[in-house]
């Protein structure tokens, strides 16, 4: 078990720079999820920690030791690969026990450890099978067992659930979380799936274009996204975002002349400033027509989601979506009265996309008070 320090990591492939100086510190025993769209550099970062990619600039320390020049085997990390990377010519037992065999441990010890691990991951009855005879979920377990057997200081997961079907993914998610609780090893989990990130992580790192956008607890990232990108990437359905102009502290106007009130205590905005205004569809309230301060949403179409429905329409000239709890149905062509709670409004700089005003950390304090 170990903490990890990442300082100023850069990576360049030919002329393209894929990581622009990443800094991160991961506490001992923490479950950290690196979240981002494909090509954001998250896998590269993970592979640099593992020792599968050379480090062009900066340094990585695991448990206080700088590992830049160490081979993968010397770093004490274990990895679960996206496609599992099981050895097709070895049985499940041989796959799990391979690391111990390479380390030259005696056979009796190996067999005992394989037995233990197989029990934990629920593969006792499959030890003699070849990977090709296993289902996707079972292969996933072999991959995890193989990672666990060395009792590594750090677990690395490279999108390990993306090859599973939706139902299995949920189940494996729970198992990974349970396993982490049991083993308590530092874990880094890379994914592009925001639900995986929200459910698994102690802390999430959102990456975009080779840079860290925000680091924080899932709740914090959801409630106070530090950038426009984080706001749009986290949460499903996605946050409504539209350009707006600040009229005065506490009031902004979007295209189509709709004025929206926000909490002036949370955002230091100057009148005349161009901003990006956002609100999550689930934060929008449906109110009775004629209610004070209500806006009219011209409904275009409705997506049925079972427990709720997602109403798409226009607010002024902006595309706008609202979550409507079950109850009365709405149809295209209707008009809904909606209210936008000022405390649920997010404002971002239109240029650099950063959240206006207070830093998220201070915001937490404001909220808590």
């Amino acid at each position: 078990m170990a903490d990890i320090e990442i300082r100023g990591i850069t990576k360049t492939y030919g002329p393209t720079r894929v990581l622009h100086g990443v800094d991160l510190s991961i506490a001992n025993g923490e479950f950290l999820v690196i979240l981002g769209p494909s090509g954001c550099g998250k896998s590269t970062l993970l592979r640099m920690i593992a020792g599968l990619e050379t480090i062009d600039g900066g340094e990585i320390a695991i448990g206080g030791t700088i590992v830049n020049r160490l081979e993968p085997r010397e770093r004490g990390c274990a990895m679960v690969f996206q496609n599992y990377a099981l050895y097709p010519h070895m049985t499940v037992a041989e796959n799990i026990g391979y690391a111990l065999k390479v380390a030259g441990r005696p056979k009796a010890e190996r067999l005992a450890r394989i037995g233990e691990i197989a029990k934990i991951v629920g593969l006792e009855d499959y030890l003699d099978r070849k990977p090709s005879q296993l289902s996707g979920g079972q292969r996933q377990r072999v991959a995890m067992g193989r990672a666990m057997i060395r009792e590594p200081k750090v677990f690395l997961f490279d999108e390990p659930l993306s090859n599973l079907d939706a139902k299995l993914r949920v189940q494996m998610r729970l198992e990974i979380r349970r396993l982490h609780q049991r083993l308590g090893a530092t874990s880094i989990f890379v994914t592009h799936d925001q639900i995986e990130a929200m459910t698994l992580a102690d802390r999430i790192v959102v990456m975009h274009g080779g840079r860290v956008e925000q680091v924080g607890a899932p709740r914090t990232l959801y409630a106070t996204p530090a950038t426009r990108f984080v706001a749009s990437f986290l949460g499903s359905p996605a946050m409504n975002l539209m350009p707006a102009e600040i009229l005065r502290p506490g009031l902004a106007r979007i295209a189509g002349g709709v004025d929206i009130a926000f909490d002036p205590a949370l955002f230091a905005a100057v009148p005349g400033q161009q901003v990006e205004l956002g609100i999550r569809p689930e934060d929008v309230e449906l109110v009775r027509p004629g209610t004070e301060g209500a806006h009219a949403l011209a409904v275009q179409f409705v997506e049925e989601m079972g427990a709720s429905r997602l109403v798409h329409g226009r607010l002024g000239e902006a595309e706008f979506a609202v979550v409507q709890p079950n109850g009365r149905g709405t149809e295209g062509g209707e008009t809904l009265a909606i209210a936008l709670p000022p405390s649920a409004i997010h404002l971002f700089d239109i240029g650099n996309g950063r959240r206006l005003g207070l830093e998220p950390q201070r915001l937490d304090a404001v909220r808590a008070a």
Partner: protein
């Protein structure tokens, strides 16, 4: 291979396949049947129709020490050149697959020999290994007559083995490298995470996964050494000295076209054909097996 969608114009289907079928019947099946017929008959000395003689021709070749010599020589040649060409090709493919600087250049050049005609290969090596010219005979300046493929059987065998291996190694290299590159990169990375170094990975992961390719190449190389070696032998040793390189295929040719004994040549052809068929069958059996593997 059942397609759901297909055309029904049978005249057209027949017309499309007819040319190839005709060629196959005339130049493959007819000669094969004829070889069978000749193998079981002899031509009377004063002309006329062949007379059926049963197994007599086979009995004759199997009791002929010259024939057994050619079988022995062919087997030695097959074993030596197959192991030499497979071993070197595997080594080179493993090296190139490490993708160090310049590996593309090596990869590009290593398969050239396979493009070169067997007799051209033979002639080049005949020069390099010539007893009185070239390079290898330089050893004779220190130890007179140490090297002379024109007089020493084993020297001649070494000459054709090296020439054939040089060509076949290029072929094997292409297949080994392709197979190595088909191994998912993450598998190698997983092995590295599990603590194994370059050599250990080659032993534990890469070579076991090359097994189907290895087997395929083994069969192909043996088959080729039985049939395709003709060009090399004909232009280098001519089966000599003293029949030391008298491979089966070469003997068939010389018995048939130099000795004009069609029945003997046909009987030997049948034996060689059975060998090739047997090897091909083993190949097919294995191909079926390796489907489960992937």
């Amino acid at each position: 291979m059942q397609r759901r969608a297909a055309f029904d114009n049978l005249w057209l289907a027949g017309a499309l396949i007819a040319p190839q079928l005709l060629l196959v019947l005339v130049f493959f099946y007819w000669p094969t049947v004829q070889a069978l017929y000749w193998a079981f008959s002899t031509q009377p000395p004063f002309g006329g129709a062949n007379q059926w003689v049963g197994w007599q021709n086979f009995e004759q070749i199997f009791s002929d020490s010259v024939y057994w010599n050619s079988v022995r020589v062919s087997i030695i040649f097959a074993i030596l050149s197959t192991s030499l060409s497979i071993a070197t090709a595997l080594l080179m493919a493993l090296m190139v697959d490490r993708q160090l600087a310049g590996h593309r250049v090596y990869r590009f050049i290593y398969f050239w020999p396979y493009a070169i005609a067997a007799p051209a290969v033979g002639l080049a090596f005949r020069f390099i290994f010539a007893p009185d010219a070239g390079f290898v005979s330089a050893v004779n300046q220190f130890a007179p007559n140490l090297w002379n493929p024109a007089l020493k059987g084993w020297d001649a065998m070494i000459l054709i083995v090296i020439a054939n291996s040089w060509k076949m190694a290029a072929y094997n290299f292409i297949f080994f490298l392709a197979a190595l590159q088909a191994i998912p990169r993450t598998l190698i990375e997983a092995a590295a995470m599990d603590g194994s170094g370059v050599l250990r990975r080659a032993r534990d992961v890469q070579i076991p996964l090359l097994q189907p390719t290895l087997f395929f190449l083994l069969v192909i190389n043996i088959t080729e050494s039985f049939v395709d070696s003709f060009g090399i032998v004909d232009i280098t040793t001519g089966g000599g000295p003293a029949r030391a390189t008298d491979l089966m295929v070469f003997k068939i040719y010389s018995d048939g076209f130099k000795g004009l004994d069609y029945s003997m040549a046909a009987a030997q052809s049948i034996v060689l054909m059975l060998l090739v068929v047997a090897l091909t069958f083993i190949q097919f059996r294995y191909v079926e097996r390796r489907v489960h593997y992937a």
